[in-house]
Amino acid sequence: MRSYFGRKFLIYGLTFFLAVTIDWMIPRFMPGDPITNMLANFSVSSTNSNAYAEMRAYYTQLFGLDLPLWQQYLNFWKSLFHGDLGISTSQFPTSVAAVLLRAVPYDIFLLVPGILLSWYAGNKFGAFAARSRWLDNTISPLGYILTATPYMWLGILLAWFFGIVLGIFPIAGAYSFNIVKPTLSFSFIRNLLWHWFLPFASLFLVGFGGQAIGMRNLIIYEIEADYSRYLEALGAPTRLIRKYAFRNAILPQITGLALSLGVVVAGALVTEVVFSYPGIGYQLLAAIQGQDYFLIQGCFLFIIIGVLLANFIIDITYIMIDPRTRRGMTGETA
């Protein structure tokens, strides 16, 4: 168990180190100069070159880009541990950390239910589809279609149909634009949920399809496993056999969930763009459009940390649920 955790932590540590290093490279090795690009956004039609040079020098110093690279790298780690991710250029002078901290709750709000509910419902649906060949041939295709749908395409169709044609859901924002101030009132929360629903639904549906297919495939294999055959030979009813198959298929599905996180996160990014939903994806796109490398950097880092954290939680959950690892037997979870 300890060596198991040791390995995991080593991998997490290395991943984090590598990710942070890649992250650090983003603004420094991009084509074009971040400060030039940032200043290009300032409409400087009546500024003379002197002032421009001064502004340039000022911002270069501000972002520490005048130091030797190794020092910049060390400083990057140092400030990282102080929670300092630099300053956003497109949202100057807001700090990147502040921008991200405001965005993250929306992501949690969207992703966690999206992932968990689609996982839960997808597994149930997949298990149901695997009950018989007839069911499999009639309802499994729904799963294939859903999981093959590009997130943004589905999102835009949902927004168009439910938002514009039927007009029953909003298509932009995290809460209505006529709200004076966000409060913890019931009506505000209802409003939040109302705006949350469509982006959630597009994440949910695609994830649902993938999980359902995964579960269906696993169950089909489990039903053929030795323990199922033994039960059958002893005359156990199909109900019990299916129940066991489901239980055992759940474990690889948990691992599968960890593997699919990257895809879900990608889906969330584009979904937020489609629905103007102010999470990390929305900020990331704004950062890319505004050539804001520091914010891109921050978004990437947050995504990495989020995915690592989720992986860790899934690992722990797996260990808690799988009796084999729980009872101290080491083994690869994933």
Partner: protein
């Protein structure tokens, strides 16, 4: 008579036609008899064992009757067969190591299995404990997951589980092949013990391992290419077999106790016939040193002495 089998024929359905894995089999297993079933792999012994308890595709029932304790077994009907499974006829599978759900505590799994067959776990718990004790398993195994048990423990657990409802017939399929020699011996002895204590009435022990049979079987039946070759008491089969195949088989063993797992018969010219399109008559014909014209007809499985059955024209 515990088990009476008449003209049982079971094929495997494949693309290129039916594989005639079990042809016209007729034999009996007596009360309290432990019958060993031996033969090369692919001779149909596993097919025979399985068709008695769970005959499902790609296995195909062709004809024949099976009666257990004078009661006809509907082996061709998966559903109607169900009430007999576990209670009247039970199985210790070849894959006993993996036969238990890996994510269920053994006790819970047992309870659920029994519950699903309408047996109250609590009512039978004391008996279960006694039998666990008998096979040297601590009561605590019920609170363990299969992975926490060693191979031998799993094997014994499955033995206890399969026989818990005192079936009339137990089919033990290659139960020792995955175990080391000392464990094999212990397991084999337990089978005898189970019979002696009347947990089971009679047994068919399917195996590659003649030495095990020599140790525990009352009688041995030899199969070749989907047909029965010879059945007699263990002593007779080992010391004075009459069927040419049995003779070759026994003589090819350097000494009793050596396993012949997967090894083909050495020194006998020719190959085992393909069961897709088996030769007419005696299927051992082509390799038989003493074959003659008569062998173009299928020899009957005849009782040539008391309790000694042979299927060879030369013996009649």
């Amino acid at each position: 008579m515990t088990l009476q089998i008449e003209n049982l024929t079971v094929y495997y359905r494949t693309l290129r036609g039916d594989v005639r894995a079990l042809e016209d089999t007729t034999f009996q297993v007596a009360d309290h008899e432990i019958m060993g079933l031996a033969g090369e792999s692919g001779c149909g012994k596993t097919t025979l064992g399985h068709s008695l308890i769970i005959l499902k595709p790609p296995m195909k029932y062709i004809k024949g009757h099976v009666a257990l304790d004078e009661q006809e077994l509907p082996i061709h009907d998966m559903k109607r067969m169900n009430p007999f499974r576990f209670k009247e006829i039970s199985l210790i599978p070849q894959y006993a190591m993996n036969a238990m759900n890996p994510t269920r505590k053994i006790g819970k799994m047992t309870a659920e299995l029994l519950g699903s067959r309408g047996v109250n776990f609590d009512a039978i718990r004391t008996e279960l404990m006694r039998r666990l004790d008998l096979v040297n398993l601590p009561d605590s195994v019920l609170d363990m997951y299969p992975i926490e048990l060693s191979g031998g423990m799993k094997q014994r657990m499955v033995m206890v589980l399969s026989t818990l409802l005192n079936p009339s017939l137990l089919i033990a399929d290659e139960i020792t092949s995955a175990l080391d020699v000392s464990t094999q011996k212990a397991v084999a002895e337990m089978l005898v013990e189970f019979r002696n204590r009347e947990f089971v009435n009679s047994m068919i022990v399917v195996t590659h391992d003649m030495s095990i049979l020599y140790q525990i079987a009352d009688s041995i039946m030899i199969m070749y290419a989907g047909q029965l070759a010879e059945k007699a008491s263990t002593d007779v089969i080992i010391h004075s077999p009459r069927h040419p195949y049995t003779k070759l088989l026994i003589s090819s063993l350097p000494e009793v106790g050596v396993r012949y797992t997967e090894t083909k018969l050495q020194g006998i010219p020719g190959k085992t016939p393909l069961l897709l399109d088996p030769p007419v008559g005696c299927r051992f014909r082509d390799r038989c040193p003493i074959s003659f014209e008569k062998c173009m007809e299928v020899p009957p499985f005849m009782e040539v002495e008391q309790d000694h059955y042979v299927a060879c024209w030369r013996e009649f």
